[in-house]
Amino acid sequence: MSTQQAAPGQQSAGTGTDQGAAARYSGAWVRDQLIRHAMVVVMLLIIAYFSYRSARFGTLENIQTIGIAAAPFALIALGQTLVILTGGIDLSVGSIIALSAMSAAATVKGHPERLWLSVLVALFVGLAAGAVNGFLVAKVNVPPFIATLGMLTTASGLAYVVGSGAPINGLPGDFGKIANNQILGLQIPVVVMIVGILALALIMARTSYGMRIYAVGGNPVAAQIAGVKTGRILFSVYAISGVLAGLSGVMLASRVISGPPNLGQGYELDAIAAVVIGGASLLGGRGSIWGTALGLLLIQTLNNGLDILVVPAYWQSVIKGVLIVAAVAVDVWSTRRRVV
């Protein structure tokens, strides 16, 4: 920081830091921290409630269950985070899951001995669909909502085309290994999720690529003048979102050892919800991978806890909807409290 000058018009921060030292751990400080981390507080309250109501909720086994359920959502939510940070949206991830799952299933059926090929095909299909989205948004300037809405319908249709209108069944049992084998005592999808979160969090915070994504979302014109190739950045985030949806698709197909063409339907909405709960702005430039991870955890914990308490599915839906909006409202309120 530059030397403090005796200049007017400067609301210097000096007072803030002095007060901070004196007021730490006082009531006001605690309240300030609670407001600052409102979403974490909401999360802890939910966990506390479920733990109180059910002994099973807090067990290691149940935590694993939450992790396994969260993994496919986590991957598309990560991709969605990048897209939303650029100010866009990707509505097509649910359909890309279906299309890549069907493609993987069809591949396994034709080449039962080559599991890796099915994974590769799923990733490629996801990449191709994401690349089309990216091309439309970055080069043709189609609004992201429209471009990915088109892909939602197209990919969903293609998923049925792959299976000629029916699910692909009778797959070799080995196909299930992808979702069910363990590494270090954790199932592969959980490991993929953890690695994915850590890797992307690192990329967003510590690489020039991550910073350029924030810049493009925060102010595309300024980013361009600063020499950022905005088109490439936009293209890349849709491509990444597609690849991650492809990966999610093959893991889901492996879990059920079949290829149902309606797999992943509506998943995009949960992914978007997780990103927004995590504090991201749909206008772009604001949000983080950690926030998304927290949002994801919130949704999955709710799903799991309500299941354990045997709440009927239709009530679960109502409660989830209300809590999601309430959580974001609290976050918006707390943000306004901090920066007037």
């Binding site: 007017p8 018009g9 400067q10 924030y214 102010n219 014109v221 300024a222 003048i225 190739k229 007037v340």
Partner: protein
């Protein structure tokens, strides 16, 4: 003092523990214009918001004609006759003028449907009062910013307003539109409206105000009738110290050519542009709004499409239409629209500061945090940025400090050519003199500077040479001698407006023989070359 339109008593307001207003007392009389001056961050906007009922003071009260103002209720304030015209207008662009005028208080027919005919008729009458020719049926988007502002003023003053608050009304409009604004303000004054007018431009205070009040650090430091104070008094009150000289001495020009533009065809303009700038030289670009100065700078830098020509920096041709290529060849652009194109408001000082040269702070794509932090910190302290540190969000900096970030972020690496577009727009007078100092220092360090500006004193005092532009082409070149001639302002205006350049051949003779007071040792040899488009009789 019996006749008071608006009275503010001992207003105080803090945001997050930081006091912004500290006990300000102010009265406005009907039929007067009070200029509210002060640097950015002095509390002007907060003052306006409280006086218009948008914000509740922590302490103190606002009285309208003796009645307390309903706070935090803009509608009630409007009913009481207080209206504000904000700095950043928010008209509904896709609606028509009359629709904008009547939104929120639409006229209805007896059947309860919108009475569009009556609204359009009344809108015409309202606008006619100000002698401005605006079609009520026109779409808001099709109007210039100045006309939109007049519509906004009409809207706010029509409902029998007694107090009108104008927040920096001239910050975004052209000189011609400013004149029209003055007419409107004068008419409102004649009608007995009390006006509070924020600005930091001295000529505006002189042109329009009856009284001047100055805020500094949230306190009222001056409240005087205008004739009782000098410009220097006002400036001193604003910045709290004496401003020795707004413009620094311009350094001498170097020998080597740093920027050579040949036949550059900017997309959308008929004529190509040639220009060359030497190291250490500051080239001013003058002209009216829309003369193509911004477009020329953007085309040189590659963010606007050019269809032909070459841009050569320090002997190397730069690939056209690629900002990344321009940056790597040592070009830098400080754009006109700071918030829209300069900074990324959602990012902090460090990230904004490293954005243009990110690849020089990375190793295999990974940011080298130490090197990045040091380089940005050095660059920011070289322009004396006042911030709470590298992690402060740029959106919370004052305008002048934001502009320093936009400028200093280029200084983490080598710059040969610095392109500045309206470098001091919306910047207060203290920060302004600092920015001038920085510009001359950079020129002295060997950069070639091209500066487009609508601020005439800025072009005249800071440039070694100036080009006057009109409709995308260069219509005249003025050297240092011509720039220091007494009637140069009028001359530049005539050239820029395409008027017949007076009957006199103006400053041309003085450019030749006798040396003018300022200017570098190696002054450009061309004495006032005038392009063929203006047939000035050079003797």
């Amino acid at each position: 003092m019996a006749n008071v339109a608006l009275e503010c008593r001992d207003l105080s307001k803090s945001f997050g523990g930081v006091p912004v207003l500290k006990g300000v007392t102010l009265t406005l009389e009907p039929g007067t214009v009070t200029a509210l001056a002060g640097e950015n961050g002095a509390g002007k906007s907060t003052m306006m918001k409280i006086a218009s009922g948008q914000l509740k003071p922590d302490h103190g009260s606002v009285l309208i004609g003796g009645e307390p103002l309903a706070h935090a209720d803009a509608h009630a304030a409007h009913r009481q006759g207080v209206a504000i015209v904000p700095q950043e207008l928010a008209p509904i662009m896709d609606m028509r003028v009359y629709e904008n005028l009547f939104i929120g208080r639409e006229l209805r027919t007896r059947a309860g449907l919108l009475d569009r005919r009556a609204m359009a008729r009344q809108a015409r009458e309202l606008l006619e009062v100000f002698n401005v020719d605006i079609d009520p049926q026109a779409h808001m988007r099709s109007l210039s910013v100045g006309l939109r502002q007049l519509v906004e003023i009409t809207k706010n003053s029509s409902g029998g307003a007694k107090v009108l608050l104008l927040d920096e009304p001239t910050s975004a409009i052209s000189d011609r539109e400013v004149e029209r604004l003055y007419d409107v303000v004068n008419q409102l004054r004649d009608r007995g409206v009390a006006m509070l007018y924020t600005t930091h431009k001295m000529e505006e205070i002189r042109a329009i105000a009856d009284r001047v009040v100055v805020l500094r650090d949230g306190g009222l430091v001056m409240d005087q009738p205008l004739p009782a104070v000098t410009d220097d008094d006002i400036v001193q009150a604003m910045i709290g110290r004496e401003l020795t000289d707004l413009f620094p001495e311009v350094p001498p020009v170097g020998e080597e050519t740093a920027l050579e533009v040949k036949g550059l065809h900017v997309s959308g303009y008929p004529e190509a542009v040639d220009l060359s700038v030497r190291r250490g030289e500051i080239l001013g670009l003058a002209g009216l709004v829309g003369a193509g100065r911004t477009e020329l700078l953007e085309a040189m830098f590659g963010v606007r499409k050019s269809t032909a020509g070459t841009v050569n920096v320090a002997g190397t041709d730069v690939r056209r239409n690629s900002p990344a290529a321009a940056i790597s060849r040592g070009m830098a652009l400080v754009p006109e629209d700071r918030k829209g194109a300069g900074v990324v408001l959602t990012m902090n000082v460090l990230d904004n500061g490293s954005l243009p040269r990110l690849s020089s702070f990375t190793l295999g794509g990974w940011l080298r945090q130490g090197a990045r932090g040091r380089a940005v910190k050095d660059a920011m302290s070289s322009v004396r940025l006042r911030s709470r540190g590298m992690t402060q969000h740029v959106g919370t900096l004052s305008g002048g400090n934001q502009q320093k970030v936009v400028l200093a972020r280029w200084l983490t690496g080598h710059v040969d050519v610095l392109l500045l577009d309206e470098p001091t727009r919306g910047v207060d007078v203290g920060a302004r003199s600092e920015i001038y100092r920085i510009i001359t220092e950079l020129a002295q360090a060997g950069m070639a500077v091209v500066m487009a500006s609508s601020d005439m004193p800025e072009v005249l005092s800071l440039s070694h040479r100036a080009l006057v532009m009109r409709e995308g082409s260069v219509v005249a070149e003025l050297d240092r001698a011509a720039l220091s001639a007494p009637d140069v302002q009028e001359r530049v205006f005539r050239l820029a407006a395409g008027l017949d350049p007076a009957d006199r051949a103006t400053a041309a003779p003085s450019a030749g023989a006798d040396g003018p007071p300022t200017g570098g040792p190696s002054r450009p040899a061309t004495p006032t070359t005038v392009s063929p488009t203006t047939k000035e009789d050079v003797r």
